[in-house]
């Protein structure tokens, strides 16, 4: 058992010993209490992400509520092969938040709502994490290690919900450059994270549990 796993177990122990996967099974059987437990476990992470993206307290709360309702309705479809529960939940939150952000942008900045593709659906399929759980500081350091233009482009895409065309327009950069910046930035981030995590790859070491 690695440190990384120990951390995850510690989180579970704080709120009642049951693993995330066990909670999801109970949620899938229709146990609202288990959803409450899962919410207690991830509300801070979920809300922090939603708030970072939307920048709006009440919108962020709506996003979190909708995301957990989504968990409630779809718990039976969670697959531990693809991602941890934590990643799954946060991916739903991210999707919802970008969705809300794009909606808001469409109405507040662009009166003609039709000109903006209505959000969403961009939720990528979930994948096993490349590296194990790192603390926030480690990830920040890894992000700091990559080139600034790449970092900026990644942030605009992931936290800003901007499309590649929008990033190109906003930063005055050719589209091709934006695409390669983000791609190279992600690859660089991956390498930096793997070296932070001692080169241990969760996906291969563990089969993605």
């Amino acid at each position: 058992v690695t440190d990384v796993e120990a951390t995850a177990v510690g989180t579970a122990a704080e709120t009642g010993e049951r693993s995330d996967e066990a909670l999801l099974e109970e949620i899938a059987r229709g146990e609202p209490d288990s959803l409450a437990t899962l919410y207690d476990r991830y509300r801070t992470l979920a809300y922090s992400l939603a708030f970072r993206i939307t920048g709006d307290v009440s919108l962020a709360e709506d996003v979190v509520q909708e995301a957990f309702l989504g968990v409630w309705r779809n718990a039976g479809r969670y697959s531990s092969v693809r991602a941890s529960v934590r990643t799954w939940v946060l991916a739903i939150v991210h999707h919802r938040a970008i969705d809300a952000l794009r909606r808001k942008r469409a109405t507040s900045e662009l009166p003609d709502g039709d000109s903006v593709p209505p959000v969403g659906l961009v939720m990528p399929d979930v994948w096993p994490e490349v590296v194990g759980r790192l603390d926030r500081e480690q990830v920040r350091r890894a992000l700091e290690a990559i080139a600034q233009p790449q970092r900026e482009a990644i942030a605009l895409a992931y936290y800003g919900g901007l499309t590649q065309q929008e990033i190109a327009a906003r930063t005055g950069t050719p589209l091709g450059t934006v695409k390669s910046r983000v791609r190279l930035g992600l690859l660089a981030l991956r390498h930096a994270l793997i070296s932070q995590g001692g080169g241990w790859e969760r996906g291969t070491a563990e089969g993605g549990s």
């Binding site: 999707h95 969705d99 961009v122 994490e129 590296v131 990830v139 990644i154």
Partner: protein, 413 residues
Amino acid sequence: MTALRTINCAEATERAAFFVLGALDTREALEVREHLETCSRAHEEFAEIGGVVPHLAELPDEVEPSAELRQRLLDAVDADVRARRREYDAAERLVASFGARPRAPRAEPTEPRPAPAGADESRAAQAEADEPRAIAVGPGRPPAAPEEISETIADRGIETGGVEVGAAQAAATTLASLAPEDAAQAPAPAGSFTAPRAAVPSLAPEPPAAAAATTALPAPTPAAAAAATASVPATSRADVAARPASIEMARHERARRPVMPWLVAAVALLGIVGLGAWNVLLQAQLAEGRDHMQALQATLAARNQPNAVVAVLAGTDAAPGVTGTAVMPPGRAGYLVVQGLPPAPAGKTYQAWYVTGKESRPAGLLKVGADGMAVLSGLNPPGPVDAMAVTLEQEGGVDRTSQQPVAYGKVSR
């Protein structure tokens, strides 16, 4: 949103970075998703660069939501539970009520039925005895091509010979809005259908649609329920509640899981029936159709139950045109809807099976309507089920099968 384009591996790869960041525009993301689901190559680059994204989710400074949010969420969950329960119970009552009527096929096996070839009453009786109830569906003729249907709907306006196309469209909208929640979806089943997207009816704006097909139970229209049938092959699930993303989700769903030809075809089929020009059996068939529609509506309701187990069936080489869906909500009776079955030869019957590992257990007999459609209600799997299958067996069914299935579909969870 402009129409989706089929993209190749190189184009998909080029979009991988923005795809994993969730930052493509909707159309581009759908195209990538569709490519990934249909492409036989592994596309490792998606996993390679996507693996870092979960870390980005945890970077933001920690802030706490208000204490009230927890209760708001639990209230919403509670409302969700109650709404679905009501919906399901109402549908069940409907099915039960038409099941009790004397003219219903299973209750009155000796009454002549309008359905032609293969409408063997002993099979109906057998099906009744088996508990899961077999109901042949619908009069008519083969489903029209999607283009034809679009025209049907557009040309006929709101009401055509007693079939409310408007209701059908509302139902279609609802169905389309039963899109999956955002994440971690099972990939589309291999046997899913190819897909002229353009023929899909356009979606009405938002929430009222959620209620249309599922709460208008007292007077279900054939068309609405036909749409319900049509929804069934979709692997979409359970999210009826009105919510902001549902239309986009619906678009998404329809694009990546091309189920709609069936939907459109079913709507059209009923529309055609409603035109009133068929034959002397029309009245009887309409009445029968209404019964079937209620069963189909119940199927829809079952599908809306949280975490319903769903299997999408596709025909094997023996019957390549067959499609079907089984829906089994936890703790409730489920339904199997199969379409495109050729008439069973004399002395034979179709039988449905629960498949668990290498074991197959009988699920009931399928009574095929003139149009090749059959509904089996009362599914109650004896335990975990890996897949559903349909075989052709000797009349009366068998306890164990040695036949190759004519249709088969794994349960998706």
